[in-house]
Subunit: 239 residues, 2 copies
């Protein structure tokens, strides 16, 4: 299934509109987006064989989706752990929820060696959720994120990227001149949220899902993208 894509400007504008004229709160959208991500993981790497999931959460909304996904994964029978790059107190309540669910939460602010700590965590987990940066990121990655991505690539572990593989350019994907070739992450799963971004055409992995089942037909028409038929009760649809 090939869908029309949504550029970075339009995606930012859509997010803003969802939370103003459309009446959604960030909590609501993030809850459903995070649930989508957890469902995509469950469908691709079921808990029986991939019990331990590491979620790498960046400082923005993409990271928040990861925090929500971690909680749902726990409820689905996984043993998730989270490494969280904190920026603000915006998602403090999501952190509290993780504590309540007994989910190990490693904070960048507590780490003396972010790159080394993440490398060790990656090696002791079965799959990795990349919720570091989303569609508003512009390459190249700065330190320590570039080192984290290099470590992730070297590990050979299955990677599920949220909305956009970290380090990619939203339009040119991994081909952007600003991206060093040894920092090109190639995830096996991509979970596009609300609509695929332009760079998703460069995704070479086997599993491309769309998540974020909260878009009305009116708003999809206004922003000129498609809402495909989700199967039954699923919060994701495979593209």
């Amino acid at each position: 299934m090939s869908l029309r894509v949504l550029g970075a400007k339009a995606a930012a504008s859509l997010d803003k509109e969802l939370m103003s004229t459309q009446g959604f709160s960030l909590d609501q959208l993030m809850e459903l987006a995070g649930l989508s991500v957890a469902q995509a993981v469950y469908k691709t790497y079921p808990p029986k064989s991939y019990k331990k999931v590491l979620i790498l959460s960046g400082p923005g909304n993409n990271g928040g989706d990861g925090l929500v996904a971690a909680r749902h994964l726990k409820l689905m029978g996984y043993h998730p752990s989270v490494f969280y790059f904190i920026k603000s107190a915006k998602f403090e309540k999501l952190e509290i929820q993780l504590h309540s669910f007994g989910i190990p939460l490693y904070l960048s602010t507590d780490s003396q060696d972010v790159v080394g700590d993440i490398k060790r965590l990656v090696m002791s987990h079965d799959s990795i959720i990349d919720a570091l940066f989303g569609f508003s990121f512009r390459p190249p990655l700065r330190d320590p994120y570039n080192q984290v991505i290099k470590g992730l690539i070297a590990s050979g572990k299955p990677v599920i990227s949220v909305d956009m593989p970290t380090g990619w350019d939203v339009d040119e994907g991994p081909r952007a001149a600003a991206i060093p070739q040894d920092e090109v992450l190639e995830p096996s799963v991509l979970v596009s949220l609300t609509a695929p971004k332009p760079a998703s055409v460069y995704f070479k992995g086997k599993y491309h899902y769309l998540g974020g089942r909260f878009i009305s037909e009116a708003i999809a028409q206004k922003y000129n993208f498609d809402v495909p038929q989700y199967p039954d009760l699923d919060q994701v649809v495979r593209l």
Copy 2:
């Protein structure tokens, strides 16, 4: 499957704790509760045969769950309509969402004849979601709610009750002395949220679901109830 029940006092205390020490927002909990209700409807009365769903939303949190369920039902292929007894501006944003999804919303404040209007709406729909009152209600029902329930009973339409059939006593169910016998609603579906309430033992319908897949093991233990195994990605489990 028979689960331990949760009394009204404990349920109120649990709700309070979820939104304080456990870090949840009302938006998050209501989103997941409403999604549960929509999934229970889908499993019992699929959209192919029961396209038109009427949601009767009361003035409290139970009503809010109904507003959220309406939106998810639309996304699942139903044609939902909502009759909403407004109390406060608390759920104004949920109303805006319904408008955005093109879901007809009838407000009690706009109606000259609430009982008659609801009767007509009931007759033109295939199933009815009873999201009027929940576990904190104490019988008897006052006017016009008692008339609404009588009309609903007379219609013979399939009724899905959210958490507690409207008019029931949370402990004694339909047996409480304060309930006139011609006001005893017997729904075909009951969606208990977080844990069944004591009166759920009097439920005689065929489909009893548990929803609200957001309870950690620690909190279930503290409140002395069970979290059963939800099947795969479902937000409801049949009891």
